[in-house]
């Protein structure tokens, strides 16, 4: 199996990804890390060291809320969930991200086909 080349996260997208993962339902930090890795099939490298500061920052901004709950294995963990403000933010950011991707894709396509 050839190793898949890993990409660094573009600036500011970590927050967006975290919000998206949490939008699926309350989840703790470790699960977020694993989920991000799985979903991106290992393409996106999430530095775990920056995951928690990002979570805390989002919580302080009121986009996330957190509760201490027991996991299936019976351990106490901090579960994050989206607040209403967080959901709105996610929708807005996702939409603008989509626009950006479309635009970039368009430009790239144009550059390729536009030789003549």
């Amino acid at each position: 199996m050839t190793p898949i080349p890993r990409s660094d996260l573009p600036q500011g997208t970590l927050d967006l990804l975290i919000l998206k993962v949490i939008a699926l339902g309350p989840v703790h930090g470790y699960a977020i890390a694993r989920r991000l890795e799985e979903v991106s099939r290992g393409v996106v490298q999430v530095p775990e060291g920056s995951l928690y500061p990002a979570l805390h920052r989002l919580e302080n901004r009121g986009l996330l809320a957190a509760d201490w709950k027991e996991t299936e294995t019976g351990r106490d963990a901090k579960f994050y969930r989206l607040t209403r403000k967080g959901r709105k933010h996610l929708e807005g950011e996702a939409a603008s991200w989509q626009r950006l991707i479309d635009a970039v894709g368009l430009i790239l396509a144009m550059a390729e086909g536009g030789g003549g």
Binding site: Y30, E48, S50, P53, H56, R57, N60, K78
Partner: protein, 890 residues
């Protein structure tokens, strides 16, 4: 959670963070172990993936956004700890800041409360008064009060109706009346005020109801309001007095309001206010001889956004119409001028306050400089600490922040102490402040605005003091500083140049303050040594006030004063006594004149005095030609006049004025004065100062006091002993003739001079000297400190010199020279600065040039001497260095 909640709960948050991260590590490690990894290796990998547990925690804490605060709190604790280790340094810095902040706050309080916000009235900043400015009168060197600020009822009503530049105009008029109820009668100063006054000024009474315009309507029961002080002193602050009936000046009236303490209006002060509708048929010149003239003083709110030009244009329009209706009341050429109400009271004292603000600004600069100097000195001894902190990773910003924070800690302590200083300083200030210079409504206090100002000054002071040394001591690279850990030998002392510059500025600033104080002292000396052209000592002055409503015709006056003067003169210890309408050296009323046999020069205005025969002897005025007024002429009110040599010279030149005639135009305006009458000149006397100490004598005419009836008069008594001892005798003599006459302002002529002329410069001397003294002390401490530091650093070098055979005296001289070089440079700078700065004092100094050589020389000598003394101790210490000890020292 808001950031301060996060700050408050940071312990709990830390625990949760620990738990959360541990959970993460456990899960990760468990997963790795499940995949077959060694448990220990699994934990290590989990930690590695997280980038280190502590690092992750730190990053999460940063995300809280409270880190800076925790850092500052840490720096704060550190600062307090270091200051407690060096109490001498900390205390001197705190004290210096306290002096600077305290003095500045005190002066600001006076300016804010006395000049900027003195009145408790609605929109007080727009309160403005106006007057008729005589354009010709002004050309005559301001003799005889060319401006008229009072208006007749008809004029006031016209201005109220027709002036467009004012939102409202109120008028007030002083009147002495008797106030009686069932408990007794007393004489009080009343102010008649137009009925709109209370609403216009927007002041609610302390007790009772506000006076409204309807209260003065005809048919309404007459009402009045009482001053807080009178209520306290004469009615024992009894609230039940409101609503009771009094007889005021013969009219039954109901007291309906007690006004709050700060309500005044009348700058001369008054006890009661009576709402009165101006009577338009009142020509302002009454047929009642007791009050030949009564004028309303106008005061109004200017419409916002007008300029003085527009205001006076509008008022001129009204006044020109009035001048046609009342031609006698207006000079041929005039213009209307407006003045802020506060200027009516403060006048020339405003510039004194500004001078004071300048002085205290300089003092603040000195204290800033000396605190910066102290901090710099400390920074030099702390170099290693700073270098070590930098080498273990403290950023320059962090270091500067810490040093600036230290000065803020000092600043806060200094500010607190400074407020205490300001509180007591304000009390002392009010003690030396002569009365009547600030509005009676003003209350000097440390109110929120003033405290906010103090806070601002402290922040500026602390930043200025702290930033300079902080930037300086974190300036260059680490290595050189760690390497040069041992104190410099011989070469340039680190921070020495900057400190020298600071000390030099301290000396220079002190020089400016000292020269200011010196010029004030010279002014005071010049004023107290003015030749009045008569001898003011041993003269008792009293002003007589006749009970209101009792009319005094010329005949009645004559009967009264003849007896009074006879009895006073008969008392032992009295050399002479007289009644006058004016008070030398301040003069009296003025009048335009016509003369026969002389040239009616442009200068047609003279000062007149209505006096008895004894005046010349009482004041000490000598006869030069002709004769004085005789008892007989005065008793029969002959149309004769004695003139002074200034009048003789300006109207008659070299010709003999005796036998010529003078007509005083002002008499035409006064009902029972002789109209269109010429007075024959019978004698010429020497001139005396008659318009204050500062100006040369104006033409003066002395007429019999029996020429017409005036309400009041002064009595002057020349005594052989202390005039004040005679006050009682004179009072008894006067009241034995008429019990109802009251004496006011009784005092020696010297005390009048003190109050009117010496008090203000004395105040200037006291405040400037205090500021300059503090400045000089701070500067000399600066010199001493710097030189002592230089000597301590050069101990080794001095030791070498002494070991090589240098004499102690040459070491002493060398060190002295080092210190004095700074002092002399500071002096030069200061003298140069003073040369430019003292011109701002010009309005406060008199009789001396603002660049007076004598003052400059004395100040330079004083500072030289103080400088030498400050250098002497460290220099002596340097000379006493033991070479053996010094060489072993390092």
């Amino acid at each position: 959670m808001t950031w301060w909640q996060r700050l408050w709960h940071r312990r709990k948050l830390d625990e949760e963070l620990e738990k959360e991260l541990q959970f993460h590590l456990n899960q990760y490690a468990a997963e790795l172990t499940a995949r077959g990894c060694d448990p220990q290796e699994a934990r290590r990998q989990a930690r590695l993936a997280l980038g280190g547990l502590e690092q992750a925690k730190e990053n999460c804490r940063d995300a809280r956004g409270t880190g800076w605060f925790e850092d500052v709190a840490q720096d704060f604790q550190h600062a307090v700890r270091t200051f407690r280790r060096e109490p001498r340094f900390a205390l001197s810095a705190i004290f210096a800041i306290a002096v600077g902040v305290g003095a500045t706050t005190m002066v600001f309080s006076v300016i804010y409360n006395g000049l900027l916000r003195p009145f408790p009235y609605k929109d007080a900043a727009r309160l403005t008064t106006f007057s008729v400015h005589d354009l010709q009168g002004a050309d005559v060197q301001g003799i005889g009060r060319g401006d008229r600020g009072g208006f007749t009822s008809a004029e006031l009503l016209t201005f109220q109706q027709e002036s467009r530049s004012f939102e409202d105009i109120i008028g007030f008029m002083s009147k002495d009346v008797s106030l009686s109820n069932n408990l007794g009668t007393q004489q009080v100063h009343a102010a008649l005020v137009t009925p709109n006054t209370f609403q216009s000024l927007g002041v609610e009474p302390l007790l009772g109801r506000n006076i409204i315009p309807e209260d003065a309507k005809p048919g309404q029961p007459p009402v009045f309001a009482v001053n807080y002080k009178l209520w306290q002193q004469h009615f024992d602050a009894d609230p039940k007095i409101v609503g009771t009936r009094f007889v005021v000046g013969g009219v039954p009236m109901t007291l309906i309001a007690i006004m709050p303490p700060r309500f005044q209006i009348n700058p001369e002060g008054c006890d009661i206010w009576i709402p009165t509708i101006p009577n338009p048929s009142d020509a302002g010149i009454s047929t009642n001889a007791a009050e030949p003239m009564h004028f309303w003083w106008p005061l109004g709110h200017l419409r916002p956004g007008l300029n003085p030009k527009a205001e006076s244009a509008d008022l001129n329009l009204v006044a020109q119409r009035l001048a046609k209706t009342f031609p006698k009341l207006y000079p041929p050429r005039f213009t209307m001028v407006t003045r802020p109400f506060v200027d009516v009271v403060i006048g020339n004292f405003r510039s004194m306050l500004y001078a004071l603000a300048g002085a205290v600004g300089l003092l603040l600069l000195i204290t800033c400089t000396s605190v910066a100097n102290l901090l710099l000195a400390r920074a030099t001894t702390r170099e290693r600490e700073i270098a070590i902190r930098a080498s273990i990773g403290a950023s320059r910003g962090r270091l500067i922040r810490q040093l600036v924070l230290e000065s803020f800690v000092l600043g806060s302590a200094g500010a607190l102490l400074g407020c205490v200083f300001a509180y007591w300083g304000l009390k002392a200030f009010l003690l030396v402040l002569p009365g009547g210079l600030l509005p009676a409504e003003a209350v000097m206090s440390l109110n929120p605005v003033v405290l906010l100002f103090a806070l601002g000054v402290t922040i500026v002071t602390a930043s200025v003091c702290g930033a300079l040394p902080a930037i300086h001591s974190t300036r260059d690279d680490l290595c050189s500083r760690l390497a040069s850990g041992s104190k410099g030998v011989g070469g340039d002392v680190r921070g020495g140049k900057l400190r020298a510059a600071l000390v030099m500025s301290e000396v220079a600033l002190s020089i400016v303050l000292l020269i200011g104080a010196g010029l004030m002292t010279r002014t005071l000396f010049a004023l107290t040594h003015v030749n009045l052209l008569f001898n003011p000592s041993h003269i008792l002055v009293t002003q007589l006030s006749f009970p209101g409503g009792v009319s005094r015709t010329a005949t009645e006056k004559k009967l009264f004063f003849e007896q009074v003067l006879q009895r006073v003169t008969a008392s032992g210890g009295v050399i002479a006594a007289a009644t006058t309408a004016s008070l030398p050296p301040y003069g009296g009323p003025g009048s335009d004149v016509d003369v026969t046999g002389g040239s009616n020069a442009e200068q047609s205005r003279v000062q007149i005095d209505l006096c008895s025969a004894g005046l010349f002897r009482t004041v000490g005025i000598r006869l030069l030609r002709g004769r004085l007024l005789s008892q007989g002429e005065i008793a029969s009110a002959q149309r004769v006049v004695v003139v002074d040599e200034t009048l003789a010279h300006s109207f008659f030149g070299d010709r003999d004025p005796v036998g010529q005639k003078i007509r005083f135009k002002v008499f035409d305006l006064i009902p029972d004065a002789p109209h269109n009458t010429y007075f024959e000149v019978v004698g010429v006397v020497n001139s005396i100062k008659n318009r204050g100490l500062r100006d040369s004598p104006a033409p003066q005419a002395y007429l019999p006091y029996t020429t017409f009836g005036t309400p009041d008069g002064n009595v002057l008594v020349r005594t052989s002993g202390d005039p004040l001892l005679m006050a009682k005798t004179v009072q008894q003599a006067i009241q034995s003739v008429d019990r109802n006459v009251s004496l006011t302002e009784t005092g020696s002529l010297q005390s009048y001079l003190q109050r009117f002329d010496y008090a203000s410069p004395e105040f200037g001397v006291a405040t400037f000297a205090a500021f300059a003294g503090i400045g000089l002390v701070l500067a000399s401490v600066g010199i001493f400190g710097l030189l002592a530091y230089i000597v301590s650093i050069q101990t080794h070098e001095i030791g070498v010199r002494l070991a090589l055979g240098a004499r102690q005296s040459s070491i002493l001289a060398m060190t002295l020279r080092k210190g004095m070089r700074l002092v002399v440079a500071g002096i030069l700078l200061g003298v140069l600065g003073s040369h430019y700065l003292t011109r701002f004092l010009a309005s406060q100094i008199w009789g001396v040039s603002s660049t007076d050589i004598f003052t400059f020389v004395v100040v330079v000598i004083v500072v030289m001497v103080v400088g030498i003394l400050a250098c002497l101790v460290p220099a002596y210490r340097a000379a006493k260095v033991d070479p053996l000890v010094a060489l072993h020292y390092e």
